[in-house]
Amino acid sequence: MEELTALTGTVTELRFALDTFYFLMSGALVMWMAAGFAMLEAGLVRSKNTTEILTKNICLYSIACIMFLLVGYNIMYVDNVEGGIIPSLGALIGTQAEGADHSLESDFFFQVVFVATAMSIVSGAVAERMKLWSFLIFTVVLTAVIYPVEGYWTWGGGFLSEAGFSDFAGSGIVHMAGASAALAGVLLLGARKGKYGKDGEVFPIPGSNMPLATLGTFILWMGWFGFNGGSQLLLSDAENATAVGQIFLNTNAAAASGAVAALLLNKVIWGKADLTMILNGALAGLVAITADPLSPSPIFASLIGAVGGVLVVFAITTLDKIKIDDPVGAISVHGVVGFYALMVVPFSNADATFGAQLYGAFVIFAWVFAASFVVWMILKKTVGIRVSDEEEYEGVDKSDCGVEAYPEFVTLK
């Protein structure tokens, strides 16, 4: 009998170990998405702004890690009231709960990389014209406060979770939130010089490096297996393991369908296969399935992704028409498709309702957009958020970083 008890203990610990390991591997994959965003954005901006976007990406990830450790995780998860609106304040990550399924540290690690993802979305949308330092200050606020507060509302057990809002891996909480912050920034920032003509023409500003953009997309695709797969939170029994498998399958299917849908749509409309649209299509497929990668059948997941891929193409061209300049399409991919992702959940998940989804989407958007708008505005009035015309023309690499991205290569200016 004693032996049995001992063995039971061993098995319990083994489960704990496997679930912790699964969290850590998932977290490492999501961390890898930081590289994906960096490469995607570096490929889609002009070469004269490439060093700065790389700098922004590595610094935002780093700042997110620090701020979420210092206060963000505490705000989001520690000592909060069930169903509340205002989280408790505090520092650091708290202490390991008795009988937890996995180690607290692995949980923190898995959560922190999500914050960085939200912030990465912003950097792409405001690229090529925003001051480095203003951006970094905004990063501090978003990752320390804005994101953790809304994160608490759903994942931390706050009022949105009580209201039945359902967002499995964060189409709204992470992606639409990031896009909302980005939108506020872009509205205050204005379009890049030369992007829109006086008579409403749209002048494309092609990205400088397609292989980088493609690599970034593949990295994000891979990392998303950790993003969605890890969000099941448990793996160590048959049901959970099966669920994680289903999530991998659906995530992959949605991304593939998003890419193919964008490809076909491009062919039909313009007769060509615009690679950057296909990349956005794949990412749209991923965002689309993220609100619920578990409930749909693989076929339905493919459909969800395909619609996401179609949507993103129209969103990108529409935003251009209303002169919202987003060099990498982040607002379309994460915002428009993120919202769509939330609204499609009730079709396959009986626990979700359109009302709750709409409510949640509205709350997240309103909070993140408003809070971000205020912060951006303060920055604009004080240190300024936009580089000078001359710096913009010369490229922000020179003014902000002092290092060019490709100093030896002769480029068309």
């Binding site: 023309y393 020179k398 002092g402 290092v403 060019e404 002769v410 480029t411 068309l412 200016k413």
Partner: protein
């Protein structure tokens, strides 16, 4: 015939091209060059050491024109490339002895 060679700031290229075409000239050849002059380059920083990047990216236009058009073209360039700030560039004019349009074999002014 004259060959007009103008070194201008890169971001003025589109303006200059328009101005030239307004005076009836359609053909030109452009190359990326680096300029050294009174306008100084900028200082870059790399790993804690500053260094001077002397050269400035410029664009060189070469335009072959009939002698009688030269004046107008030069004026068009002067105006459209002008910012008033140092580094606006130079226009040089040479005598062009002959010209051939490869496609048709037309020569001289007919070839421009």
């Amino acid at each position: 015939m004259k060959l007009i060679s103008a070194i201008i700031k890169p971001f003025k290229l589109d303006d200059v091209r328009e101005a030239i075409s307004d005076v009836g000239i359609e053909g030109l050849t452009v190359s990326e060059v680096r300029g050294f002059g009174r306008q100084k380059g900028h200082t870059e920083l790399y790993r804690g050491a500053e260094y001077q990047v002397d050269f400035l990216p410029k664009v060189k236009l070469e335009i072959a024109v009939k002698a009688e058009d030269a004046e107008r073209v030069i004026e068009a360039i002067s105006k459209s490339a002008h910012t008033g700030k140092i580094g606006d560039g130079k226009i040089f004019v040479y005598d062009l002895e002959s010209a051939v349009r490869i496609r048709t074999g037309e020569i001289d002014t007919a070839a421009l």
